[in-house]
């Protein structure tokens, strides 16, 4: 009986840790779930898994499809019409920095600040968080699963979702790793 309780407790802890790992920005997404000023996108692992069904002939598409199929989820919260966008950015940055993530890069592009953070274990990136803050613009993005930085830029072009375009900035970082 004791053994069973320990197993159940261990499983619950494991589930909690996986959940936490995949949801660094979860409190932020929950907070603005009903706020109509924001665009909200959630893509589940089920959607990404559908890509495993295909075997494209050309190598580039095949590589991209494989990269997409290893993703587990994507969440985006975005708005280009919030008055206190910089404070959203500041709060979100503070929240992410509290987690067990390391900074990949930060960019100032005109009036926009961008921050890219990653969770890496044993050389594999399991989560990528991107925050963008501008005068009226705020984007928070969390991508998780097995992430290939070299493919991120291509994936972001392939999705054409508001907020994803900023991920194309990772292109140079991906090239550096080759």
């Amino acid at each position: 009986m004791k053994r069973l309780i320990i197993i159940i407790a261990a499983m619950q802890l494991l589930a909690l840790s996986v959940n936490a790992q995949n949801n660094v920005l979860a409190p932020l997404f929950d907070k603005y779930a009903d706020d109509e000023d924001f665009t909200k996108v959630t893509i589940t692992s089920k959607m990404f898994s559908l890509f495993t069904e295909f075997e494209p002939e050309d190598p580039e598409t095949k590589e991209l499809t494989e990269a997409v199929s290893k993703l587990q989820g994507l969440k985006i919260l975005a708005s280009d019409s919030v008055n206190n966008a910089r404070s959203y950015f500041k709060d979100a940055t503070a929240q992410v920095r509290k987690g067990n993530m390391e900074e990949l890069m930060s960019i100032r592009d005109g009036k926009d600040d961008m921050l890219f953070m990653i969770q890496e274990e044993a050389g594999k990136i399991s989560e990528l968080v991107m925050l963008v803050g501008g005068e009226h613009k705020f984007v928070a993005l969390s991508l998780y699963g097995e992430i290939d930085l070299k493919q991120i830029s291509k994936i972001s072009k392939g999705m054409k979702i508001d907020g994803m375009k900023y991920l194309e900035n990772i292109d140079n970082e991906g090239d550096d790793q080759e």
Binding site: T42, K46, M47, T65, M159, K160
Partner: protein, 189 residues
């Protein structure tokens, strides 16, 4: 960000045609069937491969690949003004679909648009997909038979394919229908 309040909103149209990604969609959702029985749609139409190829104005080869294996796309549209739908309608539909073991593929909320996509079955034996789309004045339910080539879709997104052409053709089709047909009429395209 795409905004439109008339007929089928552009974004919803794009999702209907581009993201209703069922593989071998053999199953029909009981939830959608029951809803259809209880609520006659304002408009209902079917899009076949021939219609879908029509929107490929620039004859893009990847678009042909995308729609090649689609057998039929059923679209049910409800004008909220003509029906007594509440804010719970889509939520109730979503819950019903989930109880049938459909799994959520994605959700999208922006500009008063609310999109939910669900699929049934696993990667090897996918059985169906349901799309629930709500805008300020419309509820759209979608069913797709056949499958779309997801890598081709990715390539189209990466290229210069104009997805708004799809919305344009669908909107035009709806406008023509409104001018020449009874709203309660049911047609196939």
């Amino acid at each position: 960000m795409i905004r439109s309040k008339q007929h089928i909103p552009k974004l919803a149209s794009i999702f209907v045609l581009a993201f209703t990604c069922s593989l071998a969609s053999l199953a029909q959702s009981r939830t959608v069937d029951n809803f259809l029985e209880d609520h006659p749609p304002s408009q209902k139409f079917f899009l076949y491969p021939s219609t879908l190829r029509m929107v490929n104005i620039e004859k893009h080869p990847d678009f042909y690949a995308l729609v090649h294996d689609i057998d039929k796309l059923r679209v049910l549209m409800y004008d909220k003004g003509e029906n007594s739908f509440s804010q719970q309608t889509i939520r109730t539909l979503s819950q019903g679909v989930e109880q049938e073991n459909y799994q959520e593929l994605m959700t999208f909320q922006a500009d008063g648009q609310n999109v939910h996509l669900y699929s049934l079955g696993d990667e090897d034996t996918p059985e169906g997909v349901v799309g629930l789309i709500e805008t300020d004045d419309t509820i759209i339910l979608t069913d797709l038979e056949g499958f779309i080539d997801l890598p081709a879709l990715l390539k189209l997104f990466q290229g210069d394919f104009n997805f708004e052409d799809i919305a344009g053709v669908v909107n035009l089709a709806v406008e023509v229908r409104e001018e020449h047909a009874d709203k309660k009429d049911v047609s196939e395209w």
